[in-house]
Symmetry: C2
Subunit: 351 residues, 2 copies
Amino acid sequence: MTYEIALLPGDGIGVEVVDATLPLLEAAADRHGFSVETTRYGWGSERYLEEGSMMPDDAIETLEPYDAILLGAVGHPDIPDHLTLRGMMLPIRKAFDQQVCKRPSVLFEGVESPLRGYEGGDIDFVVYRENTEGEYADIGGHEHRGYGHEVAVQTAIYTRAGTEAIVRAAFEEATERDGHLTNVTKSNAQAYGMVFWDQVVEEVAEEYPEVEVDRLLVDAASMDLVRRPDEFDVIVASNLFGDILTDIGAIVSGSMGLAPSANINVEGHSPSMFEPVHGSAPDITGQGVANPLATVLSVSMLYDHLGEEAAAADLWDAVAEQLADGDAPRTPDLGGESGTTAVVDDLRSRL
Amino acid sequence: MTYEIALLPGDGIGVEVVDATLPLLEAAADRHGFSVETTRYGWGSERYLEEGSMMPDDAIETLEPYDAILLGAVGHPDIPDHLTLRGMMLPIRKAFDQQVCKRPSVLFEGVESPLRGYEGGDIDFVVYRENTEGEYADIGGHEHRGYGHEVAVQTAIYTRAGTEAIVRAAFEEATERDGHLTNVTKSNAQAYGMVFWDQVVEEVAEEYPEVEVDRLLVDAASMDLVRRPDEFDVIVASNLFGDILTDIGAIVSGSMGLAPSANINVEGHSPSMFEPVHGSAPDITGQGVANPLATVLSVSMLYDHLGEEAAAADLWDAVAEQLADGDAPRTPDLGGESGTTAVVDDLRSRL
Ligand SMILES: CC(C)[C@H](C(=O)O)[C@@H](O)C(=O)O
Ligand SMILES: CC(C)[C@H](C(=O)O)[C@@H](O)C(=O)O
């Protein structure tokens, strides 16, 4: 079996962590009797600065045949974020209908949480974030520029298809975990989109009587991820709310450098995309100290998605083992002094 | 000088904390040579259950002549939140054009933060939240109910007037504090509303060259309030983002029971409203253990707004002193075993 994987390292430390992770990706495949062919596309902000666009016009057609995509990070200090993101990451999520964004938050043994009283092993939840519509819909406008009656409009869209896809995926995950789903909305203040969302959750809940469903408002949920993160199992939320909650989840679990994610095309007709949650981090680019672990965990999720559970588990376990080992190399974001390569070499020896 | 203050205790512990705070409100006025006439309106969810509406039809006309409004909390377990809030709190904010919501986050001496390494005195920032439009605009709809092509739409509106009002208020505050403003948006994914907001911030910034302005995306800001809350001074954000950030601010500062807020009519033609950030807390209602401190601090903000700075400072200092005193009574949310009355009595003795 050979999988074709498109690599989109992107910008800044995105390039560093993707390149560093490749040997592990191959080693895990070797050990489990399958092979991987990777093709690297150097799209991103450098291209934008030279040619005026992040990706070529046929980027989506080019990526379509792949079994999966591994993305590094996108973002450049000289280009407004809405141009870089809307030029690369967001169009891929949409073009391949990657409706489900899955982001685990795990406080690994050996990692310190910024929260008092939480030790490795205490936090383990997963956020299912709607990924192609909601508050990120590209709908809106801006009128009367510069006048007193100037107004800008930003419209969120919640379709039944999009909402059901994410809600159903979250319920499925809950049946495989502890059977506890938290639905996060802001229905008290957003009586159209969010009230509809709650209705879909109630409908789908009837198909999963074994799953216990809680409701939280996004403000209370943001607070509760700080107050009692150990009590969450599966969280389901809209695009924007999932974005916020997963960043809080990442920090209470110790570091943004440990947060992986999967952008999943549920129907399987187009490739899914895997990426660390962190950004391009221009401040540390080029120093060789970027934490590669979120990317390694993202590759684990990629293999899991392709059905290569054993290879996925190997990579995940190697990361967990390394973090639990007080003598293993660590990057500065985790309080260590090692570089990217030392961390990857150590992981390789654990595979 | 006599001020007329409308009391809207509302629901649940809202009633308990407002009633408990009245003696302090009067004592502070007495000491500083002004007087206060309060009128109590029993509007809220009980009324909704009996008469079908949270407030009478002429509620806004009734409140209009007051110098200020003190609100407790709104919310009832038997009524969907969007009905209670849209029946009372949100219409008041809008009818009186309370465009500026000011919410301080202070980790007082003697209060434990859930964050490792943070001690009393380490956290002290204030969020300026846009309060009458943005993502809470009552604009949207829901079509094709029950069909596969069902869709719900929720539209956010950012006017120049609303955006300038909050941004300018935040810059003013920054000039009176440490001169550091953090502008929180999500411009990389919301290219209409949030990009407009950023433009207004850039324009207004030119009038305040002495204020240093940072930009953060809301996901990063949510994370940073956990990672480095001590580095913030003034934060300015939209209605929804301010809502989320102030809840995170409340928890990192120790307890939702300590978070006050002001909803300010900037032009002064209509009353401003002051309220604790916490909700009606049906789970502890009737037990006499609700923490009154957020309400006392809200009364302090009310007096400050009316120009009674000395009375405002007295109330604020009494709370700070009580919290710093390890032998003073505390409610259970702060790890104590005292009730609402004991806390208020102790405060009274400190005035
Ligand atoms: C960069 C940004 C558009 C993106 C998002 O909000 O989706 C990022 O924050 C993420 O969480 O993947
Ligand atoms: C109850 C709710 C509508 C309200 C809001 O979001 O404004 C509350 O969360 C607050 O922060 O005052």
